[in-house]
Subunit: 373 residues, 2 copies
């Protein structure tokens, strides 16, 4: 890490497709496209790394097709770093799961009901075929607040799966192919601090990791429980590797998590909210663009924002687009929300570097939250 | 006209927002946005003039709001020429029409059923408020092939409405406001050549027009009837003004109509087809991008096309986007289809200029049509 302020850190890590400065927000491109946004727009809004999803790309278009076409970078025409989620979360949350065994998970596609089988080895093979810069290990992710027994079982299985995934990852590395990819383990343990710490110790005993996913948070538990778990983990995860808090976050959650030592973030909210006409602004918090009060408003969405939508269009027009259900509106609001989070991470980096993160983020959160109706 | 080959012509006309070279295809931005496409993308794909619609903008967001925000050019951030359709066609085709009287048309909004009243004066006022470069007169447009009596009545009413619209247009011109807008009349007469010629004579007796809409075609009649009507009108409309064939067309129709002396075109097909995954290509005609044969196809949509989608992406990826229902796919296919027509008009201009339009368009149509399954 190049600078630290309290538990907040800034630094960078290297991937085969370039450097990623942290804290970083990674736009989610589930199916090999960040919904509504072109590769050039992603670059312009400052995205350094994007996410894609193993489960989704395995079902559509199929990882063999993506490999045949040169891997995911060539397929989606994005030459920056890509992290692929392992599909563990989706297998449990999206598909009809038929059976979880130690061997792997049998599941039915949420699209056509077809049957498939994922093993820890298989999801590594898929991600290697996609050419991901960061490959995530296969994990079992139970909902927030399951009982200890279920949490222990999920931890144990996730650990056994990690060992197998790592073995397959090393075999494939030796066989060649896309170079220098990293495998990140995913920490589980639900809301139980002792289970979290035990799992961390077990995971660390398996290898020297380049980075670490923190999973099983933001899955239904209370916010305070998430902060408590992050605070417990903060001092224990090796300081020199990036920590990826999976599925977080909203702007305020991102700042709270940076303050607790997290470095990488992803969330579908920027594009999903955009599709529901919801945008983030610093002085008015989260607002719905369809609100009648915007009908004649000649101001940009967020006067402090430098995104294409804010530089080019006014609220009255954006409201009109969303009320009329126009495609351009979805794109513009997505660009704004993505830029809002990417810029928040950029500013967090600068503030940590000059030692003003604590006071700045407190002020920012007050402004943002104070504005909420 | 700067060059003529047979009945095909090329030239240009001037608007307050710039020159338009003809033949020209005008992308349709019904609600003040060409569906899925940004102003920069419109410019990049070579659009010189875009369309918007009086009926739609009157209902949403309301023309007073657009005027307040500086007119349609400022509202949608498009500084090129804009033509607004009068809403005559939409009042009859989209809304629940309650009563057509000589005074005007009472109709119910297709959105919320609210009641409204359009007169020829009112639609001119709305279009002046929007700041259109070309204002279209209010017309009655019966479906293709109605009986003579209905066609005569529609002609007569359209003529009386034109006189009143022109009067209001001149009053507003004198009052100032947006300068040098043009009012185009709309020729009706359905499939009856003698009624078409009579209506033309009547329309010409009312004023010196800067251009002329040809309406009531491509509204259900056979293609041959459309060509017959255009051939009858061709020699009779003053040669020096542009002729706008409303609602046409598909690529082959555009070429056929250019050969019959038409200069300006609009059609929702490029963006609507894109939303149904249908694109135009020279060598394969109209194709559906979702076709299984594209799943591993590394070629651009149309190898001869210079649009952003064809320069940047391959068929396999575009198919994937459309199969998965991704927003980016709609945008890319829209850009391609729009560019296809804009470029076809560009090439027609060049070919008319060098005298090769006849042979070139025959060859083009054979290639394009030969490819159809």
């Amino acid at each position: 890490m190049s600078a630290v302020e309290g538990s907040a850190r800034t630094g960078s890590f290297t991937t085969p497709h370039g450097e990623v400065e942290t804290p970083a927000f990674m736009p989610v491109g589930t199916l090999g496209t960040v919904k509504g946004v072109s590769p050039e727009e992603l670059e312009e809004l400052g995205a350094s790394m994007v996410l894609a999803n193993t489960y989704h790309l395995y079902l559509r278009p199929g990882y063999e097709i993506v490999r045949e076409l040169g891997g995911l970078h060539d397929f989606m025409r994005w030459q920056g770093p890509i992290l692929t989620d392992s599909g563990g979360f989706q297998v449990f949350s999206l598909s009809r799961t038929n059976e979880i065994r130690d061997e792997g998970v049998e599941f039915q596609s949420h699209i056509d009901g077809s049957r498939h089988f994922f093993t820890p080895e298989k999801v590594v093979e898929i991600q290697k075929a996609l050419g991901a810069d960061v490959v995530m290990a296969f994990d079992e992710c139970p909902p927030g607040g399951v009982d200890r027994k279920a949490a222990v079982e999920a931890n144990d299985r996730t650990l056994r799966w990690l060992e197998r995934g790592l073995g397959r990852f090393r075999e494939l590395e030796e066989e060649g192919g896309h170079p220098a990819q990293s495998l990140f383990p995913i920490l589980q343990g639900n809301v139980y601090e002792d289970l979290r710490l035990q799992h961390l110790e077990d995971v660390l005993s398996l290898g020297d990791w380049n980075g670490m996913g923190i999973g099983g948070l933001s899955v239904g538990e209370a916010k305070e429980e998430m902060w408590r778990v992050l605070e417990a983990l903060e001092g224990e995860i090796p300081q020199e590797i990036p920590r990826y808090l999976m599925g977080v976050g909203y702007p305020d959650d991102l700042l709270e998590a940076v303050a607790r030592g997290c470095d990488m973030f992803d969330c579908v909210a920027p594009t999903r909210n955009a599709r529901h006409a919801t945008v983030w602004t610093l002085d008015e918090g989260q607002v719905n663009v369809k609100a009648a009060r915007f009908a004649r408003d000649p101001k940009p969405l967020d006067p402090g924002c430098d995104c294409y939508a804010c530089r080019k269009f006014d609220r009255a027009y954006l409201r009109h687009l969303m009320v009329a259900g126009e495609l351009l509106g979805l794109r513009l609001l997505s660009i704004h929300n993505l830029r809002f989070l990417v810029r928040l991470a950029e500013e967090a980096r600068a503030r940590i570097r000059d030692g003003s993160f604590g006071s700045w983020s407190r002020g920012w959160l007050e402004r943002y939250r104070g504005a909420r109706v």
